[in-house]
C-alpha cells in the first residue's frame, strides 16, 4: 500500500527498527558484505558465513559462522557445491541461532564456487524456517570462468528460487560491461560488490527510513520477485540545479538498466527518492513524470521517498526491478540436483504468514489527519507460489498532489569540480563510505570524509 503525506514537514517519527540481517555466504558473499560495511550499514546485523577461515578472519562482519569444521577443516569447499552443502548441513545448528529473530534476511552470495552454491540454499532454508522474509542477492559467474561453474551456479539459482521469497540475480558478464575493458577481474568483482551493496542498502533504507511515502513489504516483494529473471538496477545522485532530472538520468544510464530500455517491459518498478530537507514536491513530481515516460502503461510504479538530513543538497534515485526471463537464462537452468535435504521440508507452507510490518503498521491505518491513503493494498502478504505468472496490473503511479508550498529558490550553479570527481569515480556513486552514519567532518569548507586524493584531484595509480 502506498500512502502519501500531504506535506513535507511531517515530523520524523521514532519508528521501530525492523530487525534485518544481511548474510554473506562464501568468499564472494564475504566481499560483498565488506563492501556493505564500507558503504555504511547500521540498520542491519551483518553475518559472514563461510567454510574458509581465512576469509572469515579478514571479514569485517560482526558475526561469523564457520561451516563444516569436520568436512572442510577451515579450508574452502574447493569449488564443489556438494562439499559446500555438506559443510552447511554439518553446521546447521550454528547457523540457526545466528539467523534467529530477524524479520527479514538478505543473503549475498557468489554462485559458481562450492560454498556459495552449496551452502546458500541451506542458509536460505534455515532463514525461511526461522520465519523470516528471505531475499537473495546472487551473482552468476563470468562466462570465461567455465561451463562447470556456470552450470553449478544455475543449479544453485534454481534451488534458491524455490526457497527464497525473492532472488535478485546479477550477471557478472554484465558487470564486466560496467568497467573499462582492460580494468581486470578485480574491478569487475568490486563493481558487483558495489551494486549488491547499493541495492541492499536501498532496500534496507526503503524499509527502515521514516519515509514520507512508505512502501509495503508486499509491494517490495512483488517488484523483486520473478524467477530466473534479470535484475534491473539503477542508482543516480545529483546536486545540480536540475538534480531530479540528472539523478534519474544517471540511474537509467546504469548498464544494469540497459539504458532504461528494459524498464519498459517491467511489470513492477520500485523507485526510491532520497533527498535532504530541501527536496521539494515539484522535484519529486518532475522525477515521476519523467520516469512515467520510460515505462509502459501497465507498469506498476512503487514509489517511496525519504528525507535524510545527511544528503545535504544531493538527491538520489534508486530504481529496482526485475524482468521475467524469456528464453536465455531460464532455459539453461540445469536440472535441479537431486535434493538430499534431510533437514529441510518444502518451504511453501511457511510462506503465507509472514508479517514484516512493524506493529502497529507505522503509517497504515492510523487516523493521522495528514495522510491521504491511496488505493487499497493489493492482496496482503500472500505469497503466490513462485511459478505463478506475474499479474499485469494497471499502472499505479501515485503522484503527489498539487504542491502546497512555494517553490524553492533556484540554487546557484555548482558544476565546477563535480566534473573532476566524476572522472575518477567513474561508475561508483559518491558514497560517504564508512562515515555514512556519522556527522560529516566539514573543516574549512571541505568534506573531509571524501578521500584526500579525490579532493586534491591527485590520480593514484
Amino acid at each position: 500500500m502506498i500512502q502519501l503525506s500531504k506535506n513535507y514537514t511531517l515530523p520524523e517519527r521514532e519508528e521501530e527498527i525492523i530487525p534485518i540481517k544481511i548474510v554473506g555466504v562464501g568468499g564472494a558473499g564475504a566481499n560483498a558484505l565488506d563492501r556493505i560495511v564500507l558503504d555504511g550499514m547500521e540498520k542491519a546485523d551483518l553475518i559472514a558465513i563461510n567454510t574458509d577461515v581465512q576469509s572469515l578472519a579478514s571479514s569485517v562482519a560482526a558475526h561469523k559462522v564457520q561451516l563444516g569444521r569436520a568436512v572442510t577443516r577451515g579450508l574452502g569447499a574447493g569449488g564443489d557445491p556438494e562439499v559446500g552443502q555438506q559443510a552447511a548441513l554439518e553446521s546447521a545448528e550454528e547457523i540457526r541461532p545466528a539467523l534467529a529473530n530477524a524479520r527479514m534476511i538478505f543473503i549475498c552470495t557468489g554462485l559458481g564456487g562450492g560454498t556459495g552454491s552449496g551452502a546458500a540454499p541451506v542458509v536460505a532454508q534455515i532463514a525461511r524456517e526461522a520465519g523470516s522474509l528471505v531475499i537473495v542477492f546472487a551473482t552468476l559467474p563470468f562466462s570465461f570462468e567455465g561451463k562447470r561453474r556456470t552450470a553449478q551456479a544455475h543449479a544453485a539459482l534454481g534451488r534458491l528460487n524455490q526457497i527464497a521469497h525473492a532472488v535478485i540475480c546479477f550477471e557478472n558478464d554484465r558487470m564486466g560491461d560496467m568497467v573499462a575493458p582492460k580494468a581486470g577481474i578485480h574491478q569487475a568483482f568490486a563493481m558487483a560488490d558495489v551494486t549488491i551493496s547499493q541495492s541492499a542498502r536501498s532496500i534496507v533504507n526503503l524499509i527502515q527510513r521514516p519515509g514520507l511515502i512508505r512502501i509495503g513489504f508486499d509491494d517490495l516483494l512483488t517488484a523483486l520477485r520473478s524467477e530466473n529473471g534479470r535484475c534491473l538496477f539503477g542508482f543516480g545522485e545529483s546536486d545540480s540545479d536540475n538534480r531530479a532530472h540528472d539523478a534519474l538520468r544517471q540511474a537509467l544510464k546504469n548498464p544494469l538498466m540497459d539504458k532504461g530500455r528494459m524498464l519498459a517491459d517491467a511489470a513492477h518498478v520500485l523507485v526510491q527518492v532520497t533527498g535532504g530537507p530541501s527536496m521539494t514536491l515539484s522535484e519529486v513530481e518532475i522525477l515521476m513524470q519523467e520516469l512515467n515516460r520510460q515505462v509502459n502503461e501497465h507498469t506498476q510504479i512503487l514509489f517511496g521517498t525519504a528525507v535524510d538530513g545527511r544528503m545535504g543538497n544531493r538527491l538520489a534515485v534508486t530504481i529496482i526491478s526485475s524482468l521475467r526471463a524469456e528464453i536465455d537464462v531460464a532455459s539453461d537452468v540445469a536440472a535441479p540436483l537431486p535434493v538430499p535435504a534431510p533437514i529441510w521440508e518444502q518451504p511453501q507452507e511457511a510462506a503465507a504468514k509472514i508479517d514484516i510490518l512493524p506493529q502497529p503498521p507505522v503509517l497504515a491505518p492510523a487516523p493521522a489527519p495528514d495522510l491521504i491513503p491511496f488505493e487499497p493494498p493489493p492482496p496482503a502478504a500472500e505469497l503466490p507460489p513462485p511459478i505463478a505468472p506475474v499479474e499485469k496490473s494497471r499502472s499505479r503511479v501515485i503522484m503527489p498532489r498539487k504542491k502546497s508550498e512555494p517553490e524553492e529558490e533556484p540554487k546557484p550553479a555548482r558544476q565546477k569540480f563535480g566534473q573532476a570527481k566524476q572522472e575518477v569515480l567513474q561508475f561508483e556513486p559518491v558514497t560517504r563510505g564508512r562515515f555514512e552514519k556519522s556527522e560529516p567532518t566539514i573543516i574549512e569548507g571541505q568534506d573531509l570524509d571524501v578521500p584526500t586524493f579525490l579532493r586534491k584531484n591527485i590520480r593514484v595509480k
Binding site: 568468499g27 565488506d34 563492501r35 552514519k437 567532518t441 570524509d449
Partner: protein, 401 residues
C-alpha cells in the same frame, strides 16, 4: 584490597574499547593491575552511534579487565572525544570580600565560576576548566594564591566544553551496564598525563592522539593547557581512502595499511609492488607500494596541516620547546614522526604512556594512552581533594591540568 584504592579508566574508542585498572599505593604511586580490551562497534568518529552495540562492547571490555586484574569494577573514569568538543581561554575575576583580606578556597571556586560566565551554546556543557595562572592584585604568575593577601583575584582558565547530549550518551552507556561514572575527561587531556612529563609540559609540548575516528590534541605552554580540541578525522579515514582508491574492502585496506603502509614517500624501489592475496581463485591484484604510501601520506599530511593551521590562530604554537608527541594507534604508522616533524616544523616523537609505575612492556602501546592517562588523571584529582564527599560536591569544577 580496599576498593576505593582502585581507579579504573575507560576509553570508548572508535576502534577499540580499553579498560585500565590501577591501584593507588600507600606511597602515593599508582600501579596498573590489568588492561581489558574489546573491539569497538557502534562508534564512529569517537561518538556512539549505535547504543546497544556499543554497550555490549564496553561490557565485554570491562569483563576482560576484571578477569585480567582480578577485581570487581564498580566505578570508572571515562574519556570523551568527538568533533563537538571545543575550547577557549577565559579570565575570571573576583573581589575578596571587605571583611577578609586573605584569599581562601572559596575565592578560588568563585573565580572559576566567574571564568565560566561566558556564553557557550545552550546545548553545550562544560567539561573542564583548567587553571593556567592566577593573578593577585595584578601580580602575574601566582601558583597558589590561597593564604595570600589581596583584594582582587583573577585567574586564567582553559575551558573545554561539548554538546551535552553527546557527552551524556557516553555516561548513559556506562551507567546502563551498570557502572558508576566518577568523572568524564576529555581524551587528549587524559593521554597527555602519561605521554608528557611535567618537564615537557613546562617546556611546551603538543600532544596529538590519533585514533581510529578522531585526532585529539592538547597544547601545553609553561606547564599550562593553552589549546585543545578534536578533529573528526583519524585512522579510519586513512583506511577508507585506501579502500576507495584501490577498490578493496575496508578489512583488506586496514590490513594493508597496518602491514605494508608508510607515510614516507620516495623510499620504494621503482616499480616495487605488493601482491594482494585473494581467495576467489584468481591471481592476486598487484598494487604499487608508492601508490599505497601516497594515499596514506596525503591524508596524514592533510590532518597535520589542518591541525597546524587551527593552532596557528593563536600564538602558543610558537612557544613549544619540547616538540610534538604523537600517540594513539596511528602513531604506529611507519614514518609518522618524520611526516609530523616536517608538517609542524619541530621535533616530533611517537609516544606511549610512560610516566606511570608498574608499566610493563605489554602496556607500552600508544592505543592505551587515553585509558592509562585516565587513571593517572584520576589519581591526581583524588590527591588534590582527599575528601570524597567534597569531590562529589564540586563535581567537575576542579582544576588539575
Amino acid at each position: 584490597m580496599a576498593s576505593n584504592d582502585l581507579v579504573v579508566g575507560l576509553e570508548i574508542g572508535t576502534s577499540k574499547i580499553c579498560v585500565v585498572v590501577g591501584e593507588g599505593r600507600p606511597d602515593g604511586t599508582l600501579r596498573i593491575l590489568g588492561v581489558g580490551q574489546a573491539p569497538s562497534r557502534g562508534v564512529r568518529k569517537g561518538e556512539i552511534v549505535d547504543f546497544e552495540t556499543a554497550m555490549k562492547c564496553v561490557h565485554e571490555a570491562v569483563v576482560d579487565a576484571e578477569q585480567k586484574s582480578d577485581v570487581m569494577i564498580r566505578s570508572i573514569y571515562v574519556s570523551v572525544a568527538g568533533g563537538h568538543i571545543q575550547s577557549f581561554n577565559n579570565r575570571g575575576c573576583v573581589m575578596v570580600p571587605e571583611d577578609r583580606d586573605e584569599i581562601d578556597e572559596q575565592d578560588i571556586e568563585d573565580v572559576k565560576v566567574s571564568a565560566r560566565e561566558v556564553s557557550i551554546p545552550a546545548s553545550n556543557a562544560f567539561l573542564h576548566s583548567i587553571i593556567q595562572h592566577y593573578h593577585v592584585d595584578g601580580q602575574d604568575g601566582v601558583l597558589n594564591p590561597v593564604g595570600m593577601l589581596g583584594e582582587k583575584l583573577e585567574a586564567d582558565f582553559h575551558i573545554i566544553h561539548g554538546v551535552r547530549n553527546r557527552i551524556q550518551n557516553t555516561i548513559r552507556c556506562v551507567k546502563e551496564l551498570p557502572l558508576e561514572v566518577e568523572d568524564v575527561v576529555f581524551s587528549a587531556l587524559a593521554s597527555a598525563q602519561v605521554v608528557l612529563t611535567q618537564h615537557q609540559k613546562n617546556l611546551g609540548a603538543l600532544v596529538v592522539d590519533m585514533g581510529g575516528g578522531t585526532t585529539d590534541y592538547i597544547l601545553y605552554v609553561d606547564g599550562a593547557v593553552k589549546q585543545s580540541g578534536v578533529l573528526g578525522i583519524g585512522g579510519d579515514h586513512v583506511t577508507n581512502d585506501i579502500s576507495m582508491a584501490l577498490r578493496i574492502p575496508m578489512a583488506r585496506a586496514e590490513k594493508l595499511k597496518l602491514e605494508e603502509g608508510s607515510c614516507v614517500l620516495g623510499n620504494c624501489l621503482p616499480g616495487e609492488t605488493i601482491l594482494l592475496k585473494d581467495d576467489s581463485g584468481f591471481a592476486g591484484k598487484e598494487i604499487e607500494r608508492e601508490t599505497l604510501n601516497t594515499i596514506i601520506n596525503l591524508r596524514v599530511r592533510e590532518i597535520f596541516e589542518l591541525l597546524k593551521r587551527k593552532l596557528e590562530a593563536e600564538p602558543f604554537i610558537n612557544y613549544i620547546g619540547a616538540g610534538v608527541f604523537i600517540t594513539g594507534g596511528c602513531s604506529l604508522l611507519d614514518g609518522i614522526e618524520h611526516l609530523a616533524g616536517e608538517s609542524f616544523e619541530m621535533p616530533a616523537h611517537a609516544a606511549h604512556a610512560q610516566t606511570i609505575a608498574g608499566l610493563t612492556s605489554a602496556f607500552e602501546n600508544p592505543q592505551f594512552s587515553t585509558a592509562i592517562g585516565l587513571i593517572k588523571y584520576a589519581q591526581a584529582v583524588q590527591a588534590e581533594r582527599p575528601a570524597r564527599g567534597f569531590r562529589r560536591l564540586i563535581g567537575k569544577f576542579f582544576s588539575y591540568g
